[in-house]
């Protein structure tokens, strides 16, 4: 029976010839991931259930990224717990301050995840690695604990929506505008329980950073996973990076999809999600009356090198508007270092922005940019729920790095110009 790309990966990891949508399976895991918020809960469950050994010390990744360098004593205790667990179980992929990055930027960069993998992570944005041609999905801490103990997880095999990409993005747009447009089209539960499989001629025009950003936010449409086919861009990205051999899967030509959505990349415009749902999208050009107090450029969605480059190209030689706080957060230490080497950091500081070491901090209202009542932020992050970045009466507008940086200069939501 014909299978989607996701179904093929799941079938292989379940040791089965075939699977079909709706089937419940138990699959072998290549990587089990957790962070400093979700891992402590998983450790509690792991210990409470009486497990003493992890299934494979090389297949577990623990990344301290949400509240590090630790924002307070309680957060420090949580990190300490992760550190001690990682040390006592000799976890190979443990990332602490100085080495860490935001997990979903870090794991692909460091070659911890690769094409063909079956991955669970106790973080909803684990779906990011679909960009590499992996099946990757977010779970909770108990699933993480079970995964660490057994190397297995149960799944209901998802059906899929096919997203057929054609055309090519204009210079003032990026992967962020694509995924925001798509979420605006299908809604925050438009892909609930399902895969979003990207395909078509347009795929080859998207960089790996664009694909990672697109897959990252498929969860904001309710999807179980997002996935891209493996092509030369993927192979080039994985080369000399990945420790394990990538495995390439392709969807059967006659695979069945619940629906097919056509996206012409040439028609995408700079897009902003207004409060308080990611589906509440509007062209950035229609929002120029909205005054902002803060700009955040970073996160697992948009803290990668191309995002920093986009921000640099807008901010170099310019000044952040008076009354606007602009916070830039490279997502990993490698990106942080590269920003210094390329002179981006100097340009950001000269423009009046601040540059932080990697952290999820402001995206989830943890620290490093919390909003007061009535304040507005344009952010390259992924959620704009009530109170997401601070006070319940504050507002978050989601946008691309180019749109966010352009807005930082004007002090109002501003679409980047074509060719800028």
């Amino acid at each position: 029976m014909a299978m989607t790309m996701t179904q093929k990966i799941l079938a292989h990891h379940a040791g089965m010839e075939n699977v079909c949508a709706g089937q419940l399976i138990s699959a072998k895991l290549d990587i089990v991931l957790g962070n400093d918020i979700t891992t402590p809960v998983a450790i509690n469950e792991f210990n409470k259930a009486g497990f003493s050994e992890v299934f494979d010390k090389d297949k577990i990744a623990i990344v301290l990224d949400h509240f590090v360098p630790n924002k307070d004593i309680k957060a420090a205790e949580q990190s300490k717990k992760c550190r001690e667990f990682s040390c006592s179980h000799c976890i190979s992929h443990f990332y602490d301050v100085g080495k860490m990055g935001i997990e979903h930027a870090l794991l692909p960069e460091q070659g911890v995840v690769t094409a063909g993998d079956c991955i669970i992570g106790a973080d909803s944005h684990t779906c990011t690695y679909g960009a590499l041609g992996a099946f990757s999905t977010g779970v909770g801490s108990t699933d993480m604990a079970a995964g660490m103990a057994t190397g297995m997880a149960w799944f209901r095999v998802p059906s899929a929506i096919k997203i057929n990409l054609t055309g090519k993005l204009s210079k003032n747009c990026s992967g962020k505008d694509v995924i925001l447009t798509l979420i605006g089209k299908i809604g925050v539960d438009g892909a609930l329980y399902r895969s979003m499989e990207f395909t078509g001629e347009g795929v080859k025009t998207l960089s790996m950073d664009d694909r990672l950003c697109i897959c990252n936010m498929t969860v904001e449409a309710g999807a179980k996973n997002g996935i891209f086919p493996v092509d030369d861009i993927t192979r080039e990205y994985l080369k000399n990076r990945c420790e394990r051999t990538p495995v390439e899967y392709t969807a059967d030509e006659d695979a069945v999809y619940d629906e097919v959505i056509e996206i012409n990349l040439s028609e995408i415009v700079p897009t902003v999600s207004c409060p308080h749902l990611p589906e509440n999208t509007h062209p950035a050009a229609e929002l120029s009356h909205i005054k902002i107090d803060q700009v955040v450029i970073g996160s697992c969605t948009n803290g990668r090198m191309e995002d920093m480059e986009a921000a640099y190209n807008v901010l170099k030689g310019k000044k952040v508007a008076t009354g606007v706080r602009c916070i830039i957060i490279p997502a990993t230490m490698e990106i942080y270092r590269e920003c210094i080497v390329r002179g981006y950091t100097t340009a950001f500081v000269d423009a009046g922005a601040v540059v932080s070491t990697p952290t999820c901090g402001p995206c989830l209202g943890g620290y490093m940019g919390i909003l007061a009542a009535g304040e507005r932020c344009i952010a390259t992050t992924n959620r704009n729920f009530v109170g997401r970045m601070g006070h319940t009466e504050s507002e978050v507008y989601l946008a691309s790095p180019q749109t966010a940086a352009t807005s930082a200069i004007s002090g109002y939501i501003t679409a980047p110009e074509e060719g800028e």
Binding site: T38, G140, S141, A146, V188, R383, V386
Partner: protein
């Protein structure tokens, strides 16, 4: 497994950030976390709640972050069951894994009002609105999932 209590009603797309805001996630202590259950959507929730009460909501309940703290605070604060038109997938999974009773039932979620007295039989999926004297049949779980629940959660089912 049964519960009986009054209804707290919420709209579509209740996200895990309003169920348990991230500013409190610097601890994994369930009792401490549950003091802030539903704080950003209903600041009075924990003061008004009695053990066994029921949350009724619209589509996509529990969307957003994968934080298991969300179903955990709902369970720890004494909620007997969550009824929704649909659940976001990670929340759905987490609720099963930690043993928070949840039921999908579009009609019940549509018709039951805030403050109604309801009883829920989690094993049969029968929801009874005592206030209006109307019953609803929720979707039963697949057997595979029922076994996880009967074992007392995912980790217990692995033993």
């Amino acid at each position: 497994m049964q519960t009986k209590g009054k209804v707290f009603k919420y709209p579509d797309n209740v996200d895990t950030d309003v169920i348990i805001p991230a500013r409190y996630l610097n601890t994994s202590d369930a009792a401490e976390l549950s003091k802030h259950c539903m704080e950003d959507i209903d600041a009075e929730f924990v003061n008004k709640l009695s053990s066994g009460d029921v949350i009724v909501a619209g589509w996509n309940f529990g969307c957003g972050s994968s934080r298991e703290h969300a179903p955990l605070v709902i369970k720890t604060s004494g909620v007997g069951c969550v009824i929704a038109k649909s659940f976001a997938r990670i929340f759905y999974r987490n609720a099963i894994n930690i043993g928070l009773p949840i039921l999908e039932c579009e009609q019940a979620a549509e018709e039951i009002c805030a403050g109604d007295e309801v009883s829920v039989d989690f094993d049969t999926g029968v929801i009874t609105n005592i206030t209006t004297n109307k019953t609803y049949q929720a979707q039963p779980f697949p057997e595979f999932i029922q076994n996880i629940i009967k074992s007392g959660g995912l980790l217990a089912s692995l033993k």
